[in-house]
């Protein structure tokens, strides 16, 4: 009897300790693997926001939700997981940040995937409240819509197969076959400024990447940020070469004439340097690149 008790007591203590340990371990793992959880976001959903003279903000406020135009096929920037329906990427994070500053919580955001060619009409028709998705600020587009930002600066780059040693920069493109999306700015640039380069155009960049992998084309060209997204997906087969040879400034597309909202977002970018850096490091920065936040243009 005596022996039994002396044997059982330490056992009980050990069991209790193990239970306590496993419980606390449980709590620990539940908290840590979700850096995107609300508690970990570098910003808070704002209360009592008021922007006078912004028709877009009035719409958002009265409906209580925000409709954001995004890309769904660009890994690292704007990407929709086909299985879960979750959006991820740097552009998505910027879009959520803007929504939070406007006082809209995450569950009130409606993402609408809109391809490049339809962006201006989606904004002018009011299908979306704003657009965040590798949207280059250009003078021509400024005539149709307004841009807040830029929030990111990149430029045209080149993606080649990992074992390719003949293309090291845009100077090596002569006689090569370069692929990009149908009618995109990068392909128009190649046609105009790189004579002697063959061009191939498919509907999407992913088709170009497929053609690159199967050897039908020698390089894929578009904004380097987009290419880094593909390279980070398949680092064993693809690589980005050279330095960006154009300048593309990504802005937030807004309805033309909504100056109040544009200034509000610009101020948010200007004041939110640390937030920007954290959002970048959590998304596109995973590819190993270090960049600075660009200065906002208050044109």
């Amino acid at each position: 009897m005596k022996n039994f008790f002396s044997w059982k007591k330490p056992m009980l203590v050990a069991a209790t300790a193990a239970l306590a340990l496993s419980l606390s371990a449980c709590g620990g793992t539940a908290g840590s693997p979700a850096p995107t959880a609300t508690s970990d976001l570098p910003y808070k959903v704002a209360d009592n926001v008021s922007i006078s003279g912004s028709p877009t903000f009035d719409t958002i406020k009265s409906s209580g939700k925000v409709r954001i135009g995004v890309k769904q096929d660009q890994p690292g920037l704007g990407f929709k997981d086909a299985a879960t329906g979750e959006y991820s990427g740097f552009d998505i994070e910027i879009a959520k940040w803007i929504a939070a500053s406007l006082g809209i919580s995450k569950d009130k955001i409606e993402f609408k995937p809109i391809p490049s060619a339809n962006r201006e009409s989606a904004i002018t028709n009011g299908d979306i409240d704003y657009y965040v998705g590798t949207y280059s600020i250009t003078d021509k587009r400024k005539q149709l819509i307004d841009f807040a930002g830029p929030y990111f600066v990149t430029g045209q780059g080149l993606l080649v197969k990992k074992d390719n040693s003949t293309i090291n920069s845009e100077k090596d493109l002569s006689g090569k076959n370069v692929c990009s999306a149908t009618g995109s700015t990068p392909i128009q640039n190649i046609k105009a400024n790189f004579p002697g380069t063959k061009t191939t155009e498919f509907d999407t960049y992913s088709q170009c990447v497929e053609a690159l992998k199967s050897g039908q084309v020698d390089a894929v060209t578009t904004d380097q940020a987009i290419l880094l997204g593909y390279a980070s997906q398949e680092p064993d087969t693809l690589k980005v070469v050279g330095q960006p040879f154009t300048v593309e400034k990504y802005g937030v597309g807004l309805k033309k004439g909504d100056t109040a909202l544009r200034q509000f977002i610009n101020k948010m970018f200007t004041d939110g340097g640390t937030v920007w850096q954290k959002l970048y490091d959590q998304s596109l920065g995973q590819s190993g690149t270090k960049v600075q936040q660009p200065a906002v243009e208050n044109y």
Partner: protein
């Protein structure tokens, strides 16, 4: 109007390539389609089976898939390399030929059996019965459906824009990147298509009048 004038390079090259696609695909489809139609009414069972299989397989495949095969699948077979324009012409021709074949076959069915029997009675072999007696009558019976097929082909050429052929279907994407209003661009493309279809319709009316059968 500015959209059209400032980007006339896009519109001219785009529609030129559309017309090239249409012209060659129409000719090849007409020839191949007629051959297939005659095979489908030929007395040899193997020929009939082969033609029926071709029509049913290709006609039931979406055009996008047919072009997808020629643009991305064919090069992987390691045969003679072809450029995207040629690939698009081949794809469009093979696809349209099935519709031409069915139109011609319906025309052949309108020719009274007595015509073929009379031809055979005067000693004409199958090929001559077909080319001298039946097909000429068949063709003039099917002018309206045949032109519908060609009008569809003209518009189908725009699918090739997704496979690296710069034609009318690619104009909008180019314009959008140049920051031109999408609506104006689309309207101009639509307007040129309407004009082209109008020309085809006029040709159809002319042929109908010329080959009119008095019944």
């Amino acid at each position: 109007m500015n959209t059209l004038l400032n980007n006339s390079d896009l519109f001219i090259t785009g529609f030129r390539n559309t017309l090239i696609l249409f012209f060659f695909a129409a000719i090849f489809a007409l020839i191949l389609g007629t051959v297939v139609a005659t095979l489908r009414v030929s007395p040899v069972p193997a020929m009939r089976a082969a033609a029926t299989l071709y029509v049913n397989v290709v006609r039931n495949t979406p055009l996008t898939l047919v072009l997808f095969f020629f643009a991305l699948g064919y090069p992987k077979l390691g045969l003679v390399p072809i450029d995207f324009m040629t690939a698009a012409i081949i794809g469009l021709s093979l696809y349209t030929a099935t519709y031409v074949a069915e139109a011609v076959r319906s025309g052949i069915n309108t020719v009274p059996v007595g015509q073929a029997e009379a031809a055979r009675a005067i000693g004409l072999p199958f090929t001559q019965t077909l080319t001298l007696v039946i097909l000429p009558q068949a063709f003039r019976a099917v002018i309206p459906p045949m032109f519908s097929v060609f009008i569809a082909l003209l518009k189908n050429t725009t699918v090739a824009a997704g496979f690296s052929v710069f034609e009318a279907g690619a104009i909008r994407a180019n314009l959008s990147e140049r920051g031109e209003p999408a609506m104006a661009g689309l309207l101009w493309v639509a307007l040129v298509f309407i004009a082209l279809v109008f020309i085809l319709s006029a040709a159809q009316r002319k042929l109908e009048q010329k080959w009119k059968v008095d019944r």
